[in-house]
Amino acid sequence: MTTKDFLLEIGSEELPSAPLDAARAELPKLLGAALDEAGLAHGEIRVISSPRRLAALVSGVACATEASTQVFRGPKVAQAFDADGNPTKAALGFCRGKGVDVGALEVVEFKGEKHVAVTVSEPAKRATELLGPISEGVIAGLSWPRSMRWGSTSERYCRPVRWIVCLFGEDVVDVRFANIASGRATWGHRVLAPGEHEVPSPSSYLDVLEGAYVLDHDARAERIREQIATLEGELGLVVDTPASTFAEVVNLCEWPTVLAGHFDERFLEVPQEIICEAMLKHQRCFPAFAADGSLSRTFILVSNGDSAHNAAIVQGNERVVRARLDDAAFFFEEDLKVSMEDWLESLAEVTFQERLGTLRQKVARMEKLAGEVARLAGEDDATIAHAERAAHLAKADLVSQAVVEFTSQQGVMGGHYAHAAGEDDVVAAAIAEHYRPRYAGDELPGSVVGSAVAVSDKLDTICGMFAIGEPPTGSKDPFAQRRGAIGVIRLLERMPNVRLRELIDVSLGLYEAQGLTFDRDEVAKAVSGFFSGRLQTMAREEGAQPDAVAAIAHTGVVDPAEFLSRVRALEAARGETRELMDDLAQAFLRATHLADPSLGTDVDRAALGEAELALYEATEAAEADVAAALASDRFSDALAALAALRGPIDRFFEDVLVMDEDLAVRNRRLALLNRFAHPFAGVADFAALAKVS
């Protein structure tokens, strides 16, 4: 089979970073599927991209598809023709499906029956004929989050397409899209190698690009990292390159040069969070830190310009960074002139949620809830007061100038303002940290006070949204209730004394006091159901078996620490004594299948036979042990107590016929099984374990 390499380059005006990264992942799938569907064998598909191009380089594409002959079997001859020998509906339908006339029908034998059949021959098709339409389909088929039209054409792409290179070996493949015809000319770097550059063949594409001052995505990322590392060595600094900004920076250049600029010493007095954000988010520059972790005056920028003009480019960037930092400093200094209480009053003008009221009202609820969290956690009065105070001030910074400008520093700025206003350090820190955890793996607040405020904020939102009948749906979660629930779970995991159901009830009560009407019991049930769902997901994501997670969930436990430690203990017990646990689960299932709850759990001890008595005594012992173990949160001991029932129950089922003909005997034995199931109830649903094993 002869093969050639294939190149498709879609040249466009500057593509935005995130959609470009998504398209880099989508392109090989789309192209690979199209080649496969056309029957063109091919090798590896490599994606190459820069802001102005998205390209696929495919190695070893077959020059033609394989010719094929296939026989398709249709209905039995008897059903294909009627008594007069005319084709039936079945036969006509079969022919239509295969695109042939009735005359083309043959007869084949299958399992001794005669069937009609057709032979379909596909001649080999030349790749040169297939690749054009395939490429056109791929260009039109990329799924951009937002696409656009341009000029007088109606085709859509992420930004205007300006050129197309499509080569099969050394030959140009004819591709047309939005009035553009393919050729072999790619475009070089805007400044360093403007204009067209001929690509002789796919294999020379990367060299042509490099000659035209264009590096592929990965090569740019590597070059930027190398140059940053060099600068770090020279300057004795550590550069912070958060992934999201770094990804953008890589997609904003074709030929990167890393440069260092500086800003005024005086900006080091402004909270470094807004300084860093101004540089990272607004200017796509990276902050640099001294070895001791303090912010330095140096910032790192990545230029796409001609390095002959580095000095002017640095100077220009320094001027812009100065203006940005001036703004940040101005906002901070202006904010310091206002008292947090004044901001708090402005929150009465800011809607939290139309039906749930203003942010001022939310703050009032948070104060009470945060205090309650601290109280339930067993904290002293001073700590409870701190939690209330921190919740009181937590949202004030939302109307500060700095947070209006640097939204993602909400909380953090509030912490600075609280500190400046002479609030207790614990309170200031709690305000700063109360949005945590903001994403998976984020740090939790460092203090109980911070955790109490964080829980109150998130739980208040969840309970409110459930109360107005707007729980999160698959596609809609504008108040980030799912993330909030995960946050509450992570936080409460560290506060095992705080009962989630109790908190939900307090929170809903606060909404009721505010005048919101809803069915409190129903909503409370829905909220704990929601938390149970999140807990189950989290436990499964930790690697727990779905049946173990279900077994714990069925007991109705929603307190995060208890739920997760129970799952872990159950998993551990099953890990150590798999056979015993499985066997116990099977016995439990058998017992509950037979059991008749109407018979109760009272058993006349005197009437019991030997095996029955053994089970009865073991069950009594297990009941006591389980109760004691659960009372002191020794869940593994509870499991061990249940495990002790395995011998007696197995022996019982072996030695005793439960469904005795004597009704009295039968009922006694059934009641005994009811009793046997009893100690399991608060531990785990062993039936769920048996179903899977």
Binding site: E13, S17, W150, R162, G305, I313, G316
Partner: protein, 298 residues
């Protein structure tokens, strides 16, 4: 230090007008009603609609009451200038034409780091959106570059490209000054300089005071209501151009109310929706009128 060779503010406007005139743009004068951006000029909003080719450029004074800083901030103004270019259909070399224009105002693109950074544009009050970029020179945002997809809720076909230069920023950069008030507006034959501050500093102080402290909220609400009614009356009489002018008046009254901090969140949203519906209605009426004219011409 002002670079000797850097163009003055007025020379930049002259240069851009000449450059874009040479590309086939009709040089317009600004619209004489208060607007928040050059986009609101009929030469952009209305001419973006419909099938007829159109190319125009103009300098537009813009008013954004909330951005006022009493003349105390070197970068923020409540009244400033945009240089606006609109070409429909967008030419294939729109970006190259733009880069060529920078050289005319003393910013050689090859000597700087010029980037097209994603910035999708949306005007809730105009019912308009488009995709494009903000253009950075050495990290400074100097231009908005947008392919309009929809204006007044109507699909744009063919698609216009809008290029909006922030003149003060470009002048600050070209002239290497840190405050917009130090930008040289013009120089007489003896070399005496008139600065942007000489022309507009007092203007910033007075209008900031008016916008934030003096503007009569009740009167502004009345103005809004009155112009909304006028707009409807003009639509009834099939006078879409006047109706559109009334929509602009509504928009400015809203901006002033906003600057006065007179609007709650919900109220603010309502006002935006009201401006949008009058602006949209005017656009739709203008389209209908030009369709009728096209029919008559046939």
């Amino acid at each position: 230090m002002v670079k000797a060779q850097a163009p003055t503010f007025q020379e930049m406007i002259f240069a851009l007008q000449r450059y874009w005139a040479a590309q086939g743009c009709a040089v317009m004068q600004p619209v004489d009603t208060e607007v928040g951006a050059g986009t609101f000029h009929t030469a952009t909003t209305l001419r973006s609609l419909g099938p007829k080719p159109w190319a125009a450029c103009y300098a537009q004074p813009c008013r954004r009451p909330t951005d006022g800083r009493y003349g105390e901030n070197p970068n923020r103004l409540q009244h400033y200038y945009q240089f606006q270019v609109l070409m429909k259909p967008s030419p294939v070399n729109a970006q190259e034409l733009y880069l060529g224009s920078l050289a005319e105002i003393g910013l050689d693109a090859t000597a700087h780091d010029v980037r097209f950074v994603e910035d999708d544009w949306e005007s809730p009050t105009l019912g308009a959106w488009g995709l494009g970029w903000e253009v950075w020179i050495d990290g400074m945002e100097v231009t908005q570059f947008t392919y309009f997809q929809q204006v007044g809720g109507i699909e744009c076909a063919p698609v216009p490209v809008e290029i909006t230069y922030g003149l003060e920023r470009l002048a600050m950069y070209a002239q290497d000054v840190d405050s917009c008030f130090d930008v040289v507006w013009c120089r007489d034959p003896e070399g005496h300089e008139l600065t942007y501050g000489d022309v507009f500093h007092e203007n910033e102080r007075e209008f900031s005071t008016y916008n934030f402290e003096v503007a009569d909220v009740a009167a502004l609400r009345r103005h809004f209501d009155d112009y909304e009614l006028q707009c409807q009356a003009c639509l009834d009489r099939e006078l879409p151009l006047v109706a559109y002018d009334c929509a602009l008046k509504c928009s400015h009254a809203f901006n002033l109310l906003d600057a006065r901090g007179a609007l709650s969140q919900t109220e603010r949203m309502n006002y935006i929706l009201r401006v949008r519906s009058v602006a949209k209605a005017a656009c739709v009426a203008w389209m209908a009128a030009s369709d009728t004219k096209a029919e008559v011409a046939k």
